[in-house]
C-alpha cells in the first residue's frame, strides 16, 4: 500500500473521490421530491367510488364562476381589521366574507435596494423573480417548490409543470393579469390578456398600484348577458410592500394605502354583485411584514397572512367569527381550479377551501374525495394511518351513495378532512426534508479524503532521500497488505450497516436495493482506501524540516486560506466573499511591497556605503539579480492595476447596485473607451502568447502566425457582434458562428502541429531543422569514465526532450486558454486576461524566498512551491470576483454560453458558461503549471513539482468543500438556505469539477509525453543509433 502514497496522481484520485462525496452530499441536501410535471386532466376524475359509479363531470361541475385573485404584497394578518379596511371588516363581520389564516412559505430574499442602470436590471429582475417564486408557485401549482425548481430553471424562471393557469388555458378560460410582470414571466403564454408592470423603484408606491387599478373599471364591465369578460383575474398590488420596505409597518402611509386597497375590494365586490354568475374574490397577502418593514424571516408577522374569501349570491360564511381556521397557501390552487371548472393541477397537494365547498352533500363529499385521491396518487405510502383513514372515508362515501344515509356522509366527511390534513402535511414535509444520513456520510467521507490528502501532501513535502523505500518495506508481501485492506473495507462496511440500523434512517442509502448497495459498498471501499492512505502517511512522514523555511508571507497565505473557509459561518461573508479575498490580497500586496522596498533600499545603501561590502555579500547581489531594481515600481503599478480592476464590476449583494466602471464603459457615449479595452486586452494577450512561443519548438514563426490568425478571428468576432467599430462594412456582415468555428480549427491545428513536429514527421519532407531544435535526440556527453552511473544512465537525452515537450504543451495550453477566454469574455472584462498573466508573473518573481528572506537558506524548493501555489489560488479567486461573479446564481453570465453557437445544446453551453465563470481560477492554475514547467531544469524536478502542486491544489479544494459541507449541515434550517447557502454549494460543485478537469489536463500532458517518448524510444531511437 506504500506505493499508493508515492503515486504521483493520488491527489487527483482523491479529488475524484471528493467529487463523488460531494455529489452524495448534494443528493442529500436538495430535497428528495421533484415535481413530476404531471398534467391534470378532466378524465382523471374518479368515476367509481369503491365500485359505485358516479358521473364525475356532473358532480365536479362548479357552475359558472368568475374568480378574482387579489394579491396584496406584504399584507399582514392584523391589517385586515375594521380599523384599516372598514369595508372588508364589515363584510367579515356580517359573514358575507370568510377570513382564514394562511401560512405563507417563507420568502427567500429581501428585496434589494434597486437603483441601477439598465445593465443590472436583469440581475435585479432575477432576484425579484426568485423572491416571488415560492409564494406564487405555491398559490398557482398547489405544491411547495424546491431549490431544484429554481436552480434548474435559472435563466428562464418559468413554471414548467402544471399550474392553475395551465389547466385554465386548457379548458379555454379567459385569464387576465394586472400587476407585476413576474407573473407573466412565470407563466409565459398562458394569459389571455396581461398588462405587466415593472416596478423597480421601491420609492414608488402610488404609481405601481395605479397601474393595476386603471384597468379595473374596464375589466369589471359586463357584456350584454351581464357576464364579466374574464373567468380568472389576477391583481397584484405592490405598493404596501414598498411602503413597508421604506418606512416600516408602523408608517403613517400604511393606513391610507390599506384604505385604498379597501376601496378596490369594495369596487370589485359591487361590480360582482351586478353579474349574473357567481363571483368569487380571494384577497391574500403573499407574505407578511416585519415591524421594521422587511420580510424574509419566518416570524409569525412575516409568515401569517390573511386570506379573505368573498362570494356573491348570498353565500354565508360557515365559520364562527374570530381569527378563522388555518389553511395552507397551497390550498388556493385546487380551489381556483375547481371554481374554474378545471381539473386540479398535477402536483397540487392542497385541498379546496372549506367555505367554497358546496352545501350539496354529494358534491361536497365528491370534492373531498377528488382532492384526497389526487394527493394519494402522489406516491403516498399505503401503510400510513392517514391512507387507511382515506380508505375508510371512501368506504363510507360509497355507503352513502348507495344507501343515502346521512350518518355515513357525516363520518365520511370527518374522515376525509382528517386524512387530507395529514396528507398535505406529509406531502409538503416530504419535499423539504433533507436526507440527513446521506449528508452525514458524505461529510465523513470528505473528512477522510481531506485527511488522506493532507497526509499525501505532507508526504510529498519531504526531501527525496526521506522518501526512499527502505529494504524492509520492500520485503513486505503485497498479498498480506491486500488481505489487510480487505479486512479494513469489510469493517467499514459493517460499521456503515450498523450505523444504518441504529439511526433508523429512511434514507435511500440504507434501503439495500441493488443500485444503492453499489453506492453503499463503494463508500465503504473509499473509506478503507483513505484509511490506508492516512495510516501509511502517518507512518512515513518523518521529516518535515523543509517546512521550517516558511516565512511571514507563506504563513499569511496558509492562515488566510485556512481562515477563509471558516469565514463562511457568517452569511454575509458568503454573500460578500469577494471582500474577504480583496482584503487578503491587499494584505499580501502590502506585505510584499514592504519586503521588496526593504530589500531594494538595503541593497542601495550597501552599494553606496561601499562597493567592498557588496562584494563581501554576494548573496545580496544574488538576490537582487533575480528581479532587479525595477521590481518596486512594477509592484506599485500592479497594485494600481488591481485597484482599477476592482472597480470594474461591483459584486456581492450589498453594493451590487452601485455604479461601477463597467456601467460607465457600457454607456453608449463611452463606447470608444470600451473598444479601447477590447483592443488593448486582445492585443496584449496576443503579445503574451507570442512571447510564450519561446517555449515551443523551433517553428516559432508558424506558432506566431497561428496565434495572430486566432486573434484576428477574435477581433472579427467582436466586429460581427457589433462590439467593435470598423470602417470596413463587409467585415460586419460575416457570420459570427463561422468565425468561431475557424477559431477552434486554428487552435486544434496548433496542437496537432506541435505533436507532429515532435514526432518528427516533417523531416521526411526535407525541411531542414535549425540547430536549436529542442526535440532532437542526441547523446549529450560520453560518460564512460563514470562507473557508478554508467549502467543506469540513459545515453540519450530522452528526459530533456520530454521536459521540452511538457513545457511546450503547457504553454500551448495556456495560450489557447487565454485566447478562448478572451473570446468568451464580456467586452469590458477582456483586460482581465492579460492582467492575470501579468499578476502571476510578477507575483511569482516576488515570492522568491531567496529574495525576501533575510538569511540565506539552502533548501527552499518546497516552500517556494507552497507559497506560489497558494498565491495562484488566491489570484484565481480575486479575478473570479473582479470579473463580476458572486456566490449568487444571478451573476452567472448566460450570454457567454452562446458564443459561436447557432442554437442551444446543453454540453457546449454549459462548458462555455463554466469556463467563462471560472476564467480567473483556470488561468491562474494554468499559469502555475506553466511556471513549474519553465523553472524546473530536470524532468525529475518537474515531475516532483507537479506532484506537489497537484496535491496542494487538491487539498485546498477539498478542505474548502469539507468546511462548507459542515457549515451547510449546521445551517440547513437557516432562513437563507436557498438564497445564500445552496447557490454557494452549487458553485463549489462546479469549482470542484473544474479543478478536477484542470488537473486531468496536466495529467494528460504528462501522459502524452510518456507516450511520445515511448514511441520515440521504439522507433526513432533505433533508427538514429
Amino acid at each position: 500500500m506504500l506505493s499508493w502514497i508515492q503515486h504521483k496522481w493520488t491527489g487527483l484520485w482523491l479529488l475524484m473521490l471528493a467529487l463523488a462525496g460531494l455529489s452524495l452530499f448534494l443528493y442529500g441536501f436538495f430535497p428528495l421530491k421533484y415535481h413530476s410535471g404531471k398534467l391534470g386532466h378532466m378524465d382523471d376524475l374518479p368515476n367509481y367510488i369503491e365500485g359505485v359509479s358516479i358521473d364525475s363531470h356532473e358532480v365536479y361541475n362548479s357552475g359558472e364562476n368568475s374568480v378574482v385573485l387579489m394579491v396584496i404584497d406584504g399584507l399582514r394578518y392584523d391589517f385586515v381589521t375594521e380599523e384599516y379596511m372598514p369595508y372588508t371588516g364589515q363584510l367579515i363581520k356580517n359573514k358575507s366574507a370568510c377570513i382564514y389564516v394562511s401560512v405563507a412559505e417563507p420568502p427567500t430574499v429581501t428585496m434589494p435596494r434597486i437603483k441601477s442602470p439598465q445593465r443590472k436590471k436583469e440581475k435585479a429582475q432575477w432576484r425579484r423573480t426568485i423572491n416571488f417564486w415560492r409564494d406564487i408557485f405555491a398559490m398557482m401549482t398547489g405544491s411547495v417548490s424546491t431549490f431544484a425548481d429554481v436552480a434548474l430553471n435559472f435563466g428562464a424562471p418559468a413554471v414548467r409543470g402544471d399550474s392553475v393557469l395551465r389547466v385554465a388555458a386548457a379548458r379555454g378560460r379567459r385569464t387576465i393579469l394586472y400587476g407585476d410582470d413576474t407573473w407573466v414571466r412565470l407563466f409565459p403564454g398562458l394569459w389571455t390578456e396581461h398588462d405587466g408592470t415593472t416596478s423597480f423603484f421601491v420609492t414608488d408606491y402610488t404609481e405601481v398600484d395605479n397601474n393595476v387599478t386603471r384597468h379595473l373599471d374596464t375589466a369589471l364591465e359586463t357584456d350584454d348577458d351581464k357576464k364579466p369578460k374574464f373567468d380568472f383575474l389576477v391583481l397584484h398590488y405592490l405598493g404596501l410592500d414598498h411602503i413597508g420596505h421604506l418606512e416600516g409597518a408602523r408608517s403613517p402611509k400604511i393606513k391610507p394605502k390599506l384604505i385604498e386597497m379597501d376601496e378596490v375590494i369594495k369596487k370589485i365586490h359591487q361590480g360582482m354583485m351586478k353579474w349574473d354568475r357567481k363571483g368569487v374574490l380571494l384577497v391574500c397577502g403573499d407574505h407578511g411584514m416585519r415591524e421594521a418593514g422587511g420580510h424574509g424571516g419566518s416570524s409569525p408577522a412575516e409568515v401569517l397572512v390573511p386570506l379573505v374569501v368573498l362570494q356573491t349570491q348570498g353565500v354565508q360564511c360557515p365559520h364562527p367569527l374570530g381569527t378563522g381556521p388555518t389553511v395552507e397557501q397551497v390550498d388556493i390552487a385546487p380551489s381556483i381550479a375547481w371554481l374554474l371548472n378545471a381539473p386540479i393541477p398535477g402536483d397540487s397537494s392542497g385541498k379546496i377551501l372549506p367555505s367554497l365547498l358546496p352545501t350539496d352533500i354529494r358534491q361536497h363529499l365528491y370534492l373531498l374525495h377528488v382532492t384526497a385521491s389526487h394527493n394519494a396518487k402522489q406516491g403516498l405510502p399505503t401503510d400510513t394511518e392517514f391512507f387507511k383513514q382515506f380508505k375508510r372515508a371512501e368506504a363510507q362515501f360509497a355507503r352513502y351513495l348507495s344507501t343515502g344515509q346521512d350518518s355515513a356522509a357525516k363520518i365520511a366527511k370527518e374522515f376525509y378532512e382528517e386524512s387530507l390534513i395529514a396528507m398535505s402535511k406529509y406531502l409538503t414535509g416530504n419535499s423539504t426534508d433533507f436526507d440527513v444520513f446521506a449528508l452525514g456520510i458524505a461529510t465523513v467521507l470528505l473528512y477522510f479524503v481531506v485527511t488522506a490528502l493532507l497526509c499525501v501532501t505532507l508526504y510529498s513535502f519531504q526531501e527525496e532521500n526521506c522518501r526512499k523505500i527502505s529494504i524492509t518495506d520492500r520485503h513486505k508481501t503485497s498479498i498480506g497488505s491486500l488481505v489487510a485492506f480487505a479486512i479494513v473495507a469489510i469493517i467499514m462496511a459493517i460499521i456503515l450497516t450498523v450505523v444504518c440500523f441504529i439511526s433508523e434512517t429512511k434514507s435511500q442509502l440504507c434501503s439495500f436495493n441493488p443500485l444503492w448497495s453499489i453506492a453503499f459498498l463503494s463508500i465503504a471501499f473509499a473509506l478503507a482506501v483513505t484509511y490506508v492512505l492516512v495510516k501509511t502517511g502517518v507512518e512515513k512522514i518523518k521529516d518535515l524540516s523543509t517546512l521550517r523555511e516558511l516565512n511571514a508571507i507563506d504563513y499569511l497565505l496558509i492562515v488566510g486560506t485556512l481562515f477563509h473557509s471558516w469565514s463562511f459561518f457568517g452569511t454575509s461573508f458568503i454573500e460578500e466573499e469577494h471582500m474577504t479575498w480583496y482584503f487578503f490580497w491587499n494584505t499580501l500586496m502590502c506585505f510584499v511591497l514592504a519586503r521588496t522596498i526593504v530589500v531594494v533600499v538595503l541593497y542601495f545603501s550597501k552599494r553606496w556605503s561601499g562597493a567592498t561590502e557588496v562584494q563581501e555579500k554576494p548573496e545580496l547581489e544574488n538576490r537582487m539579480s533575480v528581479v532587479g531594481i525595477g521590481i518596486v515600481p512594477q509592484w506599485v503599478l500592479l497594485i494600481a492595476l488591481h485597484r482599477y480592476l476592482r472597480t470594474m464590476n461591483q459584486t456581492g449583494d450589498r453594493w451590487l447596485f452601485l455604479p461601477d466602471t463597467a456601467d460607465w464603459l457600457n454607456a453608449p457615449e463611452n463606447s470608444f473607451y470600451l473598444q479601447g479595452h477590447i483592443v488593448v486586452g486582445t492585443l496584449t494577450t496576443l503579445g503574451i502568447c507570442i512571447w510564450n512561443g519561446r517555449h515551443m519548438n523551433n517553428y516559432i514563426h508558424i506558432h506566431s502566425l497561428l496565434t495572430i490568425l486566432a486573434t484576428a478571428c477574435i477581433l472579427c468576432y467582436r466586429i460581427s457582434t457589433d462590439a467593435l467599430y470598423t470602417p470596413i462594412a463587409t467585415l460586419r456582415t460575416w457570420d459570427s458562428v463561422a468565425i468561431v468555428n475557424v477559431f477552434w480549427w486554428i487552435l486544434i491545428f496548433q496542437v496537432i502541429f506541435e505533436i507532429l513536429t515532435y514526432i518528427g514527421s516533417f523531416r521526411p519532407c526535407g525541411i531542414k531543422l535549425p540547430v536549436s531544435n529542442k526535440f532532437t535526440y542526441n547523446k549529450p556527453k560520453e560518460k564512460s569514465e563514470d562507473y557508478f552511473y554508467d549502467q543506469m544512465e540513459e545515453p540519450w537525452n530522452v528526459d530533456d526532450v520530454r521536459l521540452n515537450l511538457a513545457r511546450s504543451l503547457s504553454h500551448i495550453m495556456y495560450n489557447q486558454l487565454m485566447l478562448v477566454i478572451v473570446l468568451l469574455m464580456r467586452p469590458h472584462n477582456v483586460v482581465m486576461v492579460p492582467s492575470v498573466y501579468i499578476t502571476c508573473v510578477i507575483t511569482s518573481k516576488c515570492l522568491d524566498h531567496k529574495l525576501l528572506d533575510a538569511r540565506p537558506s539552502r533548501n527552499v524548493d518546497v516552500v517556494d512551491i507552497i507559497g506560489r501555489t497558494l498565491v495562484h489560488v488566491w489570484i484565481g479567486y480575486v479575478f473570479f470576483f473582479y470579473q463580476g461573479n458572486s456566490n449568487s446564481l444571478a451573476s452567472v453570465d448566460l450570454g457567454s454560453g452562446y458564443v459561436g453557437l447557432a442554437e442551444y445544446s446543453p454540453v457546449p453551453v454549459a462548458a462555455r458558461m463554466g469556463l467563462h465563470a471560472y476564467a480567473g481560477p483556470a488561468l491562474a492554475g494554468a499559469a502555475i503549471f506553466c511556471y513549474v514547467a519553465e523553472v524546473s531544469y530536470t524532468w525529475q524536478k518537474y515531475l516532483q513539482a507537479v506532484w506537489r502542486v497537484t496535491n496542494i491544489l487538491a487539498l485546498q479544494r477539498v478542505y474548502q468543500l469539507v468546511m462548507y459541507c459542515l457549515i451547510a449541515i449546521i445551517f440547513r434550517h437557516h432562513l437563507f438556505v436557498w438564497s445564500v447557502f445552496s447557490p454557494k454549494l452549487l458553485y463549489d460543485f462546479v469549482a470542484t469539477v473544474f479543478s478536477l478537469q484542470a488537473l486531468l489536463t496536466i495529467a494528460e500532458i504528462i501522459l502524452l509525453t510518456h507516450l511520445t517518448s515511448w514511441l520515440a524510444k521504439t522507433i526513432t531511437y533505433k533508427r538514429i543509433s
Binding site: C590, V598, T647
Partner: protein, 236 residues
C-alpha cells in the same frame, strides 16, 4: 526588548505611554459624548488632529529633554532647517499614505477629504513621534531597516507604536463589508478608530510591560507574562 539597565529611559517611556493612555481616551470620550464620534472623517474634526499634534509634541519634548549633550548642541545650530525638512518629510509621508490608502481600496473618485484625514492621522500617530525624536534621516533609515534600533528603548517603543497603529487601521477595515448597517461602518470611521485603538493598545501594553518587569524582580513568576508581552512586540 526593554532593558532594565537604563532607568531614566524606562521611566520616560512609562510616563509618556501613561500620558497617551490618559489623553487619547479622554479625547475620544469627549467627542463621543458630544455625538461627534461618527464625524471623525470630516475636515471639521481637524481639531482632534491638532490636539493629538500638540500632545505628541509635548511628549516628544519630554522624551528629548536632557537626552544627551551632543545632540543638543547640533540641534541648536540648524533648527529651522531641520524643522522645514521634517515638515516636508511628514507632508510627503502623508501624501504617500494618501496614495497607498487609495491603492488599497479607499474610494477612488470621492471621499478624498476623509481619506486625507485618515492619512494625516496615520502620519501623526505613527511617524511624527519618531521624526520628532530622532530626526528625519534616522527615521528614514529606521523605516527601511538600514539601521537596527533594538538597543534604544525609546525608539523601540516608538516603532512598536507605529506598527500597532498601522495594523489597527488595517484591521479596522474588516468590519466595513459586514451587513450590520450601523452608522459607524462608513468609510473611514473604522480605520480611523482602528488606528487610534491600535496606538492606544501599544501604549497600554508598554505600560503593562514595564510595570510587570519591575514587579517581576520581586515576584519571579511574573516573568512568564513579560515573555508573553514580549511576543506581542514586533521587533523586526
Amino acid at each position: 526588548m526593554f532593558s532594565l539597565n537604563d532607568h531614566l529611559e524606562l521611566r520616560r517611556v512609562t510616563v509618556s505611554s501613561l500620558v497617551t493612555c490618559v489623553y487619547l481616551p479622554s479625547i475620544i470620550t469627549v467627542i463621543s459624548y458630544k455625538g461627534l464620534l461618527y464625524s471623525v472623517g470630516k475636515a471639521s474634526s481637524f481639531y482632534i488632529l491638532a490636539l493629538i499634534f500638540v500632545a505628541e509634541l509635548l511628549k516628544s519634548f519630554y522624551l528629548n529633554s536632557q537626552n544627551d549633550i551632543q545632540q543638543k548642541k547640533s540641534k541648536g545650530k540648524t533648527k529651522t532647517g531641520d524643522l522645514v525638512k521634517a515638515f516636508c518629510f511628514l507632508l510627503g509621508i502623508t501624501f504617500c499614505f494618501f496614495i497607498g490608502i487609495i491603492l488599497f481600496g479607499a474610494p477612488f473618485l470621492d471621499n478624498h477629504e476623509e481619506t486625507l484625514m485618515l492619512s494625516c492621522l496615520l502620519t501623526l500617530l505613527a511617524l511624527f513621534p519618531l521624526v520628532a525624536h530622532i530626526g528625519v534621516e534616522m527615521a528614514m533609515q529606521l523605516l527601511f531597516g538600514v539601521k537596527s534600533f533594538t538597543r534604544d528603548t525609546i525608539i523601540a517603543m516608538l516603532v512598536n507604536n507605529a506598527v500597532f497603529t498601522l495594523c489597527g487601521a488595517w484591521l479596522g477595515a474588516v468590519v466595513i463589508p459586514l451587513d450590520w448597517n450601523t452608522p459607524w461602518q462608513v468609510w473611514p470611521i473604522p480605520c480611523y478608530l482602528g488606528a487610534v485603538g491600535g496606538y492606544l493598545l501599544a501604549n497600554v501594553l508598554t505600560v503593562l510591560k514595564v510595570s510587570l518587569m519591575s514587579a517581576s524582580t520581586k515576584y519571579k513568576y511574573l516573568n512568564f507574562f513579560v515573555n508573553i508581552l514580549n511576543k506581542f512586540h514586533i521587533s523586526k
